[in-house]
């Protein structure tokens, strides 16, 4: 992509104006997923399997159908016949199978039937009238057990071409990469540490549950309102699952109360549409928190072996890792991502990584900020910390010594362009936190983290109004303050104030396909498209000025919101402000708008370094995080407050994942803690002030230098906290979460 419009001096970009959605959100005016209703609306509810693994012998819906308030009941038979394919190629089938069980219920909470009734209470009660006969099957929820020869087979034929011969059918994808000769590298090492690590599944924990309002007629035309990170993927998937044409379904994204990757697919949306089609009325479904935990994507859980060899001077001579991830009863656990990210921060001569995608009787995993990367970093950075300790080396110096930089061949293959890892490490070393004294009982940990970032299909339109204000339509739901950032970037190009630009998340009927708000791509890709769309409008503005002045358009340039002659030879005209041009645009050639669409490829990888202090109560095993500093490369921070918010949010979620959040399954394969009371997400008082340092090493792939910042921030915390806790407790913690019972048990083992 031509980047003739690179910019490094800014007027609006880098300032911190008020967020455009702030007043709506604090006054309750913002409309979230559950806030929409329609005349004649019904309420849907979903019956879920109480079994981890069971054949569905029979579903008798007759009693529910006879209930006076019930207007429709659906089962799998009410959805389209989607072809099954192995691995991720059959993703529509996988999603359908997850949305409504077919022959088997595959996990506790798997949807098996749904009703629509005239009230939410009636719908809930009607579910109790549906009789399901199950034949309970053996189940498995642990990743290592799911790979063992005697594990129950979840679905034959789900493995794709990548899986080597002889593996258990639950292993459905395999990844192997690296370069050099690890055996030769280990032979050069002065110290080799090899260890195993385990992490539990955690949930994205968005406060807003999944909610939607769907309407589908027998003519195949529909409308869907839902809380989602990507309404085009919702449109495409729902259309496929219901057997209708994509364009006939118009999807509008609501305001979103958190997604973190978990709202990049559909769960209840196709069900609401199927119920609506049957009842011929709009149907609203709102999940309970328990449904969110039981049936929407948590992360994968992981079991990992890492081996690293180091020379006395801190040089890593070889590194290898095996990463086994379970992602529920469907292909998709990001074992490949874990493997590719695990060693990505380092400039390694010899590196090898293997990733497994394993199925088990758990809900279908969904993306959660940098999916797969945090677990791998936990294993790798723990081993590096241990090596530093044993060799008496400073953990930041060792990372600096091995840090990847421009030109390094990444552990996963390509050569890095300009990257900012070294800058984050230098900032860490210079930060007062790194040298602040620790109290007895406290420990400090550091970790680096990496994430790829993503471009994706993007389409943006900008329309100018007669009064000189602008409306910008983007297709990426605002999950992190992107409306403010888009307005700032458009303001920068147009030269009009931030406040004069209104950014809207357009529905699927208004713009071309937009990929989901994921992969930290929004400020990068929608931002790039916004800049280009604004440039497109500026070209037209210049044309109008040129016509008025009767000079060639090449003789007009755009400066501070005005058309001006490009030089003394172009003529002597007063600057013509944008509002003067738009005032009579109807008479000078028609409405002025700008447009841009592309799949930009220059997202620019991102690195961060975290410093954490933790204090452990040796009598109870309870940890408190006493100080936390996030240092991350943002390329260019468009709205620094939002960038800091992303950094802090990554740390906060990482603290939860590291210390107390976990999916707890009973012997019966049922989820034990499907409410926020027992799924222990951190509360505000659990968190210290999270300090942030924004490093800006411009991304060559974006006109203003932006790198996505949404995901990298959750990669280092697990490792940095584990290192801090291990240093505080005096015992290496290899299993997450490091809950008080686990720490106390580890302390006892260590002393006993």
């Amino acid at each position: 992509m031509a980047l003739d419009d690179r910019k490094s001096e800014f007027t609006f970009v880098g300032t911190r104006p008020d967020r455009p959605d702030g007043l709506d959100k604090v006054t309750g005016r913002a409309k979230f997923g559950a806030d929409m209703s329609a005349p004649g609306m019904l309420h849907g509810a979903i019956l879920r399997s109480p079994h981890a693994h069971a054949r569905i012998v029979k579903i008798d819906t007759s009693k529910a159908e006879a209930h006076k308030d019930v207007k429709a009941v659906v089962t799998r038979a009410d959805f389209a016949d989607v072809p099954f394919k192995p691995g991720l190629e059959g993703e529509f089938w996988n999603v359908l199978e997850n949305v409504m069980a077919g022959e088997k219920a595959l996990y506790d909470g798997h949807a098996v039937a749904a009703v629509a009734a005239s009230s939410a209470l009636a719908a809930r009660d009607a579910l109790k009238l549906i009789e399901v006969e199950y034949e309970v099957l053996p189940h498995v929820t642990d990743v290592d057990k799911a790979m063992a020869p005697d594990a129950p087979v979840i679905r034959e034929g789900a493995a794709d071409y990548s899986v080597p011969e002889g593996m258990h059918p639950n292993v459905v994808r395999y990844h192997e990469s690296g370069h050099g000769d690890v055996e030769a590298g280990f032979a050069e090492a002065d110290l080799i540490i090899e260890d195993s690590f385990v992490t539990e599944a955690t949930h994205q924990g968005y406060i807003e549950p999944h909610a939607c309002l769907g309407m589908l007629g027998n003519d195949g035309k529909g409308e869907l309102w839902c809380t989602t990170q990507g309404h085009w993927i919702a449109q495409k998937t729902c259309a496929a699952l219901l057997g209708i044409e994509t364009s006939q379904l118009r999807v509008t994204a609501s305001e979103i109360g958190g997604g973190f990757g978990g709202k990049t697919t559909v769960f209840i949306e196709p069900v609401a549409l199927a119920l609506s089609r049957k009842a011929n009325r709009p149907v609203k479904i709102v999940m309970t928190r328990s449904e969110v935990f039981r049936a929407t994507g948590p992360t994968a859980s992981a079991s990992m072996d890492v081996k690293i060899g180091m020379k006395k001077d801190g040089t890593i001579s070889a590194a290898q890792g095996v990463f086994r991830l379970q992602g529920g009863a469907f292909p998709g656990a990001p074992g490949d991502m874990t493997a590719m990210c695990a060693f990505a921060p380092y400039n390694l001569t010899n590196v090898k990584q293997i990733g497994y995608d394993v199925m088990s009787n758990r809900p279908k995993q969904a993306a959660y900020r940098a999916p797969g990367a945090p677990m791998g970093a936990f294993a790798v950075e723990s081993v590096i910390d241990e090596l530093c300790k044993k060799l008496g080396l400073d953990p930041v110096d060792v990372r600096l010594k091995n840090a990847a930089h421009e030109g390094t061949k990444a552990s996963y293959g390509p050569r890095y362009e300009r990257i900012g890892l070294v800058e984050t490490l230098e900032a860490a070393k210079a930060h007062p936190h790194y040298t602040a004294p620790l109290k007895p009982g406290q420990g400090r940990g550091i970790s680096c983290g990496f994430w790829f970032n993503h471009g994706g299909e993007t389409s943006v339109s900008l329309a100018l109004s007669e009064d000189g204000s602008a409306q910008l339509m983007v297709g990426t739901p605002d999950i992190g303050g992107s409306r403010a950032s888009m307005a700032l970037m458009a303001a920068e190009v147009l030269g009009i104030p931030y406040e004069n630009i209104r950014v809207t998340i357009a529905d699927t009927a208004t713009l071309g396909y937009n990929d989901v708000s994921h992969g930290s791509r929004v400020t990068y890709a929608s931002g790039l498209a916004t800049i280009k769309a604004a440039k497109h409008a500026v070209e037209k503005l210049c044309e109008r000025a040129a016509a008025k002045w009767d000079i060639p358009v090449e003789a007009v340039k755009w400066e501070n919101g005005c058309a001006v002659p490009s030089g003394p030879n172009a003529g002597d005209f007063d600057p013509m402000p944008l509002a003067d041009i738009t005032a009579d645009m109807g008479r000078t050639g028609g409405p002025i708008s700008g447009h841009f669409e592309a799949t930009p490829e220059g997202a620019g990888v991102s690195f961060g370094t975290h410093i954490v202090d933790a204090e452990v109560d040796p009598e109870t095993g309870k940890t408190s995080i006493t100080r936390y500093t996030v240092i991350q490369d943002a390329g260019k921070a468009i709205h620094p407050t939002y960038v800091e918010g992303q950094f802090q949010g990554g740390a906060a979620q990482g603290i939860g994942w590291a210390l107390n959040e976990e999916y707890i399954y009973g012997e019966d394969g049922r989820l034990q803690n499907s409410i926020f009371l027992d799924y222990r997400i951190p509360v505000a008082s659990d968190l210290p002030m999270i300090d942030t340092v924004i490093v800006e090493v411009p991304n060559p792939g974006h006109p203003f230098g932006v790198r996505g910042v949404g995901e990298t921030g959750i990669v280092p915390p697990l490792a940095a906290i584990a290192n801090a806790v291990s240093n505080a407790a005096g015992v290496r913690m290899k299993q997450l979460p490091m809950s008080p019972p686990r720490i106390l048990a580890a302390l006892k083992d260590n002393n006993g």
Partner: protein
């Protein structure tokens, strides 16, 4: 569902006695309404006791004892400076329940009658020697708090019986109480272990003590061996170790999502020591 808001406890008792199916009294509703909305318990009869005169009163009697109305909330207790001076451990235990919003509704009575072995105020009430007045079809009776819970979700109250008052003894001289709970977070969690200690001193020596443990058995426990371990001592290290050992020995917990048997047993001893030290310091006149 039938909703009633009687004007007296006698009326409340009669309504409950004649009701069929599932009956719940509605105090703050922070258990009842949550269970209703999450489809756990849908009562056939709901008897709101908050409209009865005096149910929010917190009264200090002439002899120094206290009478609390059954709808007095956690927030009302915390805001009552004199109550907190007499019984800081009890007030703190109640104050640990939920959030600011929950504090505006939750009551001691509801916490007790919900029957959770992890209820925070119950060990503190037992340690303090609190009794409840129970109004039934055949009149009033006074029951020690430790005799109310009989198992998870179960109480010794008979059909038609309703608690009509909470009676807290006079603090008296040289006494102090404390309650500590273990939760992995800092708030908004359910006790994995709870320990309340109430004691009285003569000089440096403990002359009376009551120790109660929560969340380590099917009901909240009053542990006499814990009291014996510290009575007659000045809470020296040997007495503290004996207290911890007695507390751990009294535990009969379960392994569950909130904690393991080994963890609960160990931490009960740790918290017993810590709570005893606070109660001792308070008995010595130190303000927390």
């Amino acid at each position: 569902m039938n909703y009633h808001s009687p004007a007296s406890f006698a009326e409340a008792s009669a309504l409950a006695a004649n009701a069929t199916g599932i009956t719940r009294f509605l105090a703050g509703g922070t258990d009842v309404l949550v269970q209703l909305r999450s489809d756990v318990v849908t009562p056939d009869t709901l008897i709101d006791i908050k409209k009865i005169d005096g149910v929010h009163d917190i009264t200090r009697n002439a002899d120094g004892s206290w009478t609390l109305g059954v709808a007095a909330t956690g927030a009302e207790m915390t805001e009552h400076a004199d109550l907190g001076r007499d019984w800081p451990g009890l007030v703190e235990a109640m104050d640990l329940i939920g959030s600011t919003q929950v504090q505006g509704r939750a009551t001691l009575t509801g916490n007790l009658c919900n029957g959770s072995p992890a209820a925070d105020s119950v060990p503190a009430m037992i340690a303090a020697g609190v009794t409840v007045t129970v109004t039934g079809p055949s009149g009033d009776r006074e029951v020690a708090v430790e005799d109310v819970p009989t198992g998870p979700g179960k109480t010794s109250l008979a059909k038609g019986e309703v608690i009509s008052a909470i009676n807290i003894p006079a603090r008296g001289e040289n006494g102090g109480d404390a309650y500590l709970r273990f939760i992995p977070r800092t708030e908004m969690d359910i006790a994995v272990v709870g320990v309340a200690v109430n004691l009285r001193l003569d000089g440096d020596i403990i002359t009376e003590a009551r120790v109660s443990l929560g969340a380590v058995a099917p009901t909240v426990l009053l542990v006499e061996d814990c009291a014996k371990a510290i009575i007659g001592s000045a809470l020296d290290d040997a007495a503290l170790d004996a207290l911890a050992a007695a507390a751990s020995a009294a535990c009969n917990p379960i392994d569950d999502k909130r904690g393991t048997i080994a963890f609960r047993t160990e931490v009960a001893g740790v918290l017993a020591k810590r709570a005893a030290k606070i109660a001792y310091a308070r008995a010595k006149g130190e303000q927390a």
